[in-house]
Symmetry: D2
Subunit: 167 residues, 4 copies
């Protein structure tokens, strides 16, 4: 049986230290569950921090890179998938994640949340206030808001316990 | 010199009659200016209605389809670009448009607006209230809100008059 | 009814003058038939020459570019489709063409021929010797070899006359 | 330091038993070296057989799938990357592999070899006769032919020993 792939989305260059700290902690917790961490793979912001956390706890990290080579990949990414597709790779991030946790970010993150929801993925917003946006998905039980990384993990476990078919 | 390519985004199957009427009118006006209309190419909602409007006024219509064949293309699309990339084609819509007009839509439309803004395109929201989302782009003069198709055309002309380099 | 889209593939920077002359002539003939010319869109080699020929005869030219902007587009391309997908766009070239004419080229051209044949497109090799490669498609009547642009046009007309469904 | 990613390309549904046996053996050897095996991810032909071999030896297997879900993924794939891009994903296979081993296949395999060579990857043909095709790459020391899986492994080790920069 395959391991669960948890997509971690969020800001790149513009991510604050607080957001990166959350991402780092989330990465640790994902690895401790034995899950695979997937993100956009670059060596900045939420991507770098979450991969670092996961790696330090022995987790496997997969990065879906926009580039044609690994020059900008985070050193904490084990498997850099080189798409050469620029932001077009956001669609792959959404499809490949079994479940998505989104931290504060901007356009790229919002496009990933939108594409994830559109393709039937559950999205957990971690300390990320999107107002009424996507509220229909919240009502449908496909989008949740949490404040702490531990709560994000708890939400994922709840979904797993409910027997959702991820694979 | 190339013709301006105006991307028209908005709801598919779920678009209301009112929204489709706006899209149809917008398509007509775009064609009357001699501009090329680009959209997601399918034969439903804003895509079908805007292409129909443009075609009836002799305009050229380009559809960036998610599919591998033209079976679901709108009959009003002159040039169906078959990507086979599913929602991944939204990125191509954003890049290929010189300017984007977005009517009410859901996840797909939001992902296109986000990718357009991220890639430096001006986005004109036509009767589409997104609350505070993307407000930083509004402040930067890259996102505008209008109520009528005629106003969207006027905004585009203003940008052209300011000498923006589209090509 | 839509116009036929003829994909013209072949060498880029490395294309010889003779090959470019063939491409230019082919572009002219495609435009004279009222067909749309599609190619990879860059301002070099077979792409530039075929678009120039088509444009000089009043044809419509569509370029599927690997880039995120039109800086490297041929000036003879009317509609630059900006994919940002690098060589990944070769798949779009294959899918979007109703029929493909391939002039001498290298890796990119061969990948396009392979993807076109795999996706059910007829490929006409114009003065391009591929030895036994793809010979099964030749036997199946999906690949033809011609020496002159006029013969390529004649092959396409024959296919149209046989009532092949392109659209 | 990252593990080497070896891309294994070759026939799908049409692959012969002999070819699948070679792929299975190759997968085993790749895993025994501690390398990551990457392929197109589907549960048929060379993809399925090579993943099975690698998995049985404790290797990590990554599949770049054309689909939007994992329904057609080989059960021996640990990490299914869901691109939704159809054959467009062949470009990702080429970019993501540090080195490519190609077994007998048809259009898809040829497109992958072409895209790999075009993007600077070394390609090792395993019992796959392509005649003169790509012979310029053979002369440039970027394409090799071997008869046995063990020889493919030896070629990769030779390249590594020469200090090629893969990462």
């Amino acid at each position: 049986m395959r391991k669960l792939v948890v997509g971690v989305m969020g800001g790149g260059e513009g991510a604050s230290e607080d957001v990166c700290r959350l991402a780092y902690k989330l990465g640790k917790l994902i690895a401790q569950e034995g899950w695979v961490l997937l993100n956009g793979g670059r060596g900045v912001g939420v991507m770098d921090a979450s991969a670092k956390g996961a790696r330090e706890c022995g987790g496997l990290t997969v990065g879906i890179l926009p580039d044609r080579n690994a020059a900008n990949a985070s050193p904490y990414i084990d498997i850099p998938i080189l798409t050469g597709f620029g932001d077009g790779r956001n669609f792959i991030n959404a499809l490949t994640s079994n479940v998505v946790v989104a931290l504060p970010g901007r356009m790229g993150t919002i496009s990933e949340i939108a594409l994830a929801l559109k393709n039937g993925k559950t999205v957990i917003l971690l300390d990320f206030d999107l107002g009424d946006l996507f509220s229909e998905y919240r009502k449908a039980g496909l989008m949740f808001s949490v404040k702490k990384p531990e709560e994000a993990i708890a939400e994922i476990k709840k979904i797993l316990a409910e027997g959702a078919e991820f694979f």
